[in-house]
Amino acid sequence: MHTEYKVKTSAFEGPMELLLLLIEKRKLFINEISLAQVTDDFMSYLKRLGTLPIGYTANFIITAATLVLIKSRSLLPNLLLTEEEEGDISDLRRRLELYRLFKNAGEKISSTFGKHIMFKRQYRAIMPVFVPDKSLNLANIQQSVIDMLASAPKKEALTETTVQKAISMEEMMENLTLRIKETMRMSFKQFSNHHANPKKDGKIFIIVSFLALLELVKQGIIAVRQENKFGDIDIEGLAEQKI
């Protein structure tokens, strides 16, 4: 079933589903190394989500942030992560394990559901006897409708915390860039300003271009140069490579 996998926009309900599929497609175990390996696949799916409403993409973006951390560390082993970031990484791995556990169990559940129903007895015929009670009066009936209307779910407002988290991504990426600059001497900001219009392309592009940059550094395709001690840091192509 999974062998004919193609990335299709909005084919996935959530990031865990996508992440697990990417890992299983490559027949990997769930660990930091495999998560780093599927990060690019995950991002290429995300790029296509760029046009969907933030409510749908927010959960993917949050997961993407953690994947960026994992990938950064896999490429730059001496990059120091904060305690919280370490926590995010082990949390993502654990969530994915949990998700896989329940998803697999769910497959068995769905194959048994409705196959051998334990039927309950048919109801005996009703012989109604009119028995009202004191709570039945027009005022109570009206109040009950009013209460019900008040507690009805509103047009599902996007969970604000999720969206907030997704929006603060930019900050997080900048912060990470700074720290990588310290170790790698480069100006990511310049890089991303050149190549992305954040207003138009959004957070996903920033993540993707960041990852691309990391990859390029790793492969030695670009070098970084610093003019004076506290000056700006430039990125320079080693060969006539186009980034």
Partner: protein, 189 residues
């Protein structure tokens, strides 16, 4: 795994609340009448001293509560009729009242839970009645009973307090709900 014939008959009779003929049983189980009768005899023996007994009436058989527990069952039946209506019951009843006639699935959508048990309890107490939906023969619609109208001192739903406004809002809610359903289906499919 296959159950013995008497256990299969037990299950069928347990399921059906009314009597069943031996002929019908033999058709259903695809065995001859003699075998059914034999199994019924075994079943009768096995049910001795149990809470449920096998009653035979001419060609027809059925399971009933053992007569030793009849007082207990009377108490239980009385229990179903009396007692205060729960908040959920009053809610369901108000939907039926303001809508005048409504399907179970509309009630389910408005309240966000399955209303089966409550609707049955309201019918037993004679507050709500169920009729065939004229538009869709398979579906049922629920209506307030005349006795309930009388009890509340109204003759038609329009006399309910703030009828126009509340009715409209309820209507909106059930429509929004079916839209939400579609939205979430689109994502999860």
């Amino acid at each position: 795994m296959m159950l013995p014939l008497d256990a299969q008959i037990e299950a069928i009779l347990f399921f059906k609340t009314d009597a069943m003929s031996i002929r019908k049983l033999s058709e259903l189980l695809n065995v001859n009448k003699e075998l059914v009768e034999e199994a019924l005899t075994q079943l009768k023996v096995k049910l001795e001293g149990r809470g449920v007994s096998l009653t035979c009436h001419g060609d027809e058989v059925m399971l009933t509560c053992a007569k030793e527990v009849s007082l207990l069952i009377e108490k239980l039946a009385k229990d179903e009729l009396e007692g205060e209506l729960s908040r959920a019951s009053v809610e369901t009843l108000s939907i039926v009242l303001y809508r005048g006639s409504v399907t179970k699935s509309e009630i389910d959508y408005i309240r966000g839970v399955n209303a089966s048990f409550i609707l049955r309890a309201l019918q037993i107490r004679g507050l709500v009645e169920r009729t065939q939906n004229p538009k869709d023969g398979r579906a049922f619609i629920y209506k307030p009973t005349i006795e309930l109208y009388n009890f509340l001192g109204i003759t038609k739903k329009e006399e309910l307090p703030d009828y126009e406004k509340l009715m409209k809002e309820l209507d909106l809610l059930s429509r929004e709900e079916s839209q939400n359903e579609k939205d979430s289906m689109a994502v999860s499919s």
